[in-house]
């Protein structure tokens, strides 16, 4: 790496909490073939990924199963050595400075536990406070805040093995936040949780971000998580970035449709030829009709103007595109997106 590039990298790393450059990770998969020979196949779990995350930002990192999300997170946290490329987290080299980095970040692997199975949460937190070398009594206030905000009080003295999934995940989140990390990385935190538990967790995370300015990197399959907690989306597929931007931009890019639902004052003939729209459904008497349109091709105002000429609109509502549908369309689009 030349001097000029090295300096530029360091400069951008000062305000970026995560800086990933051409990051790749290749795995060798061996499968038995024939009696003695084994066939080797290399898989690019992460392929030339480049993105940077500003301090205080919240990114939803999404992709189908096997897209490379967890692999990326393991490289960002220093658990996995990259095959090539570079990653700088909190200004540190994650693999070489793994322990120093671990003091500044909190990680929740949704499917793994950092709690001790045979001990109550309270004991786990005591050990974690010592692991993070949190001074004397200051961590106790933080623990009590987390116990209060995550509503752990009723089971904080119960061995972890006896907790329900929702209780355990809340306990995990508190464990990751006990040392007040500047960056919180959540790998599928809401997996398996019921609607109410998910909602409470989201409220808590939003509150923590507002209070402490914690940066948040979130992988999830739950689009509500993305909508509620993040302002930027990075989508990966087969290890490559296929989208980086905000949610409206993604909706626009895949051409997802909005639907206008119109209630008329009197029976109206089917609206089959409104410019820029498609008639989805018309009730037999024509009192309620649904038109879909692609934002960018026309606007809700223009559609309403041409519809008003056909009959008196009594009420209308607009259904936004379902984000899961948007992401599905994105996965299906074959051409990798390059900025």
């Amino acid at each position: 790496m030349s001097m000029a590039i090295a300096v530029a990298h360091a400069d951008s790393a000062t305000d970026a909490i995560i800086d990933v450059r051409s990051l790749s990770r290749r795995f060798t998969v061996r499968s038995p073939g024939g009696r003695l020979r084994r066939t080797k196949k290399t898989v690019d779990a992460v392929d030339a990924l480049t993105f940077s995350m500003q301090r205080g930002a919240a990114i939803g990192y999404i992709g189908a199963n096997g897209a490379g999300k967890s692999t990326t997170i393991k490289m960002i946290t220093g658990i996995l050595v990259p095959s090539s490329g570079s990653v700088v987290t909190c200004g540190l080299d994650p693999v070489r400075q793994r322990k120093r980095l671990a003091r500044r970040i909190g990680v929740v692997f949704g499917q793994r536990t950092q709690l001790w199975w045979d001990l109550p949460l309270r004991e786990s937190y005591r050990t974690l406070a010592a692991i993070h070398r949190l001074p004397g009594d200051s961590w106790v206030a933080r623990r009590d805040e987390l116990i209060d905000r995550l509503d752990l009080a009723s089971f904080v003295d119960t061995p972890v093995r006896q907790l329900s999934l929702g209780q355990r995940i809340r306990g995990e989140i508190a464990a990751a936040l006990l040392h007040s990390p500047e960056l919180l990385i959540l790998d599928e935190p809401t997996i398996g949780l019921d609607v109410l538990s998910k909602e409470r967790l989201r409220v808590f995370l939003a509150e923590q971000r507002a209070l402490h300015g914690t940066s948040l990197l979130l992988t999830t399959h739950d689009m509500d998580d993305v909508q509620r907690l993040t302002e930027r989306l990075v989508v990966v597929d087969h290890g490559q970035m296929i989208y980086d931007g905000d949610l409206p931009g993604l909706v626009h890019r895949v051409g997802a449709e909005r639907v206008m639902v119109l209630d008329f004052a009197a029976p109206t003939p089917p609206l089959e030829d409104v410019p820029g729209t498609r008639l989805v459904h018309s009730e037999p008497d024509g009192m309620r009709q649904r038109l879909s349109f692609v934002p960018g091709h026309t606007t809700a105002g223009a559609v309403l103007a041409s519809v008003s000429a056909r009959g008196e609109v009594r009420d209308l509502s607009i259904e936004e595109p379902d984000i899961e549908d948007v992401v599905r369309r994105l996965y299906l689009s074959t051409e990798p997106y390059r900025q």
Partner: protein, 271 residues
């Protein structure tokens, strides 16, 4: 808080955590103590029989000291953890080791401290019953001065840590192998002989003594028993403990290097 005090706090927290984790399994502890005591009876009488067949004395052991040796072995099985553990191997295989790596603490240090807590817990409830049964059934021949017990206590802790360091390496094989049963069985077979768990190392034929002397085996069981029974005292006792310490440092260092090599090739898939 200074670096040193926070380090001590970290170490002690892991010791305490290890102690509490193991103290939750009371029934298993009782069952283990019962088993150790029953096998102690069998081993004590086999040892007494062997010494009798050899004419009343064998490599410095008479019936009373031979039986004492057998009972002390039974008392040390749990604290020294001679049958091993596989928690780390299972965590490597499942990928949970990622959690250990995401912590600002050296995993070997954290596991060692927790293992000291485990040993501290097992010391009385697993060590006392075989000794009490031994005292009641065959009698125990133990030193009457305090020094062997002081040195013996240090020697036992060295053995606990050395056993941990050896098992750490066995567990690390999981980075390269999917199934550890072969490695564990081999380790257990070899270590239970070379440590002196079956019969005292002093009874070994010459070639086996030589082999044993080049392994950490005798430092696990034979060494602490020689020190605590004052079979070796003074300079001899210190020499034995020095050997234990050298093996301990060497095995921990190898464990560090192998762990580092393992994490370099670690593939944690899924989740």
């Amino acid at each position: 808080m200074s670096h040193a005090t926070s380090f001590i706090a970290l170490f002690c927290a892991h010791v305490a955590m290890g102690f509490r984790r193991w103290s939750t399994y009371r029934l298993a502890t009782a069952a283990g103590a019962f088993t150790n005591s029953v096998f102690g009876l069998i081993k004590a009488y086999i040892t007494i029989g062997a010494i009798g067949a050899a004419g009343g004395s064998l490599a410095g052991y008479d019936a009373a000291t031979g039986a004492t040796y057998a009972w002390l072995v039974q008392a040390l099985i749990a604290p020294v953890n001679i049958f091993g553990w596989q928690e780390l191997a299972l965590r490597i295989r499942s990928g949970d080791v990622a959690v250990d790596l995401a912590r600002p603490v050296d995993p070997q240090l954290a596991y060692l401290a927790a293992d000291l807590g485990r040993a501290a817990y097992s010391f009385i409830p697993r060590g006392a019953p075989p000794l009490l049964v031994g005292a009641a059934v065959t009698g125990l021949t133990l030193p009457t001065s305090p020094l062997p017990y002081v040195l013996g206590a240090i020697s036992v802790w060295l053995a606990v840590m050395l056993s941990f360091a050896c098992q750490w390496l066995v567990n690390l094989a999981a980075f390269w192998l999917l199934d550890l049963r072969g490695v564990r069985t081999l380790y257990m077979a070899v270590s239970s002989v070379l440590s002196g768990m079956m019969v005292p190392v002093h009874w070994f034929p010459g070639w086996l003594s030589t082999v044993a002397a080049w392994t950490p085996g005798p430092s696990l069981i034979q060494a602490p028993i020689d020190v605590v029974t004052a079979r070796a005292d003074g300079v001899d006792a210190l020499a034995i403990m020095g050997t234990q310490a050298v093996w301990l440092v060497a095995m921990l260092a190898v464990g560090q290097l192998v762990f580092l090599a393992g994490t370099r090739k670690l593939v944690v898939q899924g989740g």
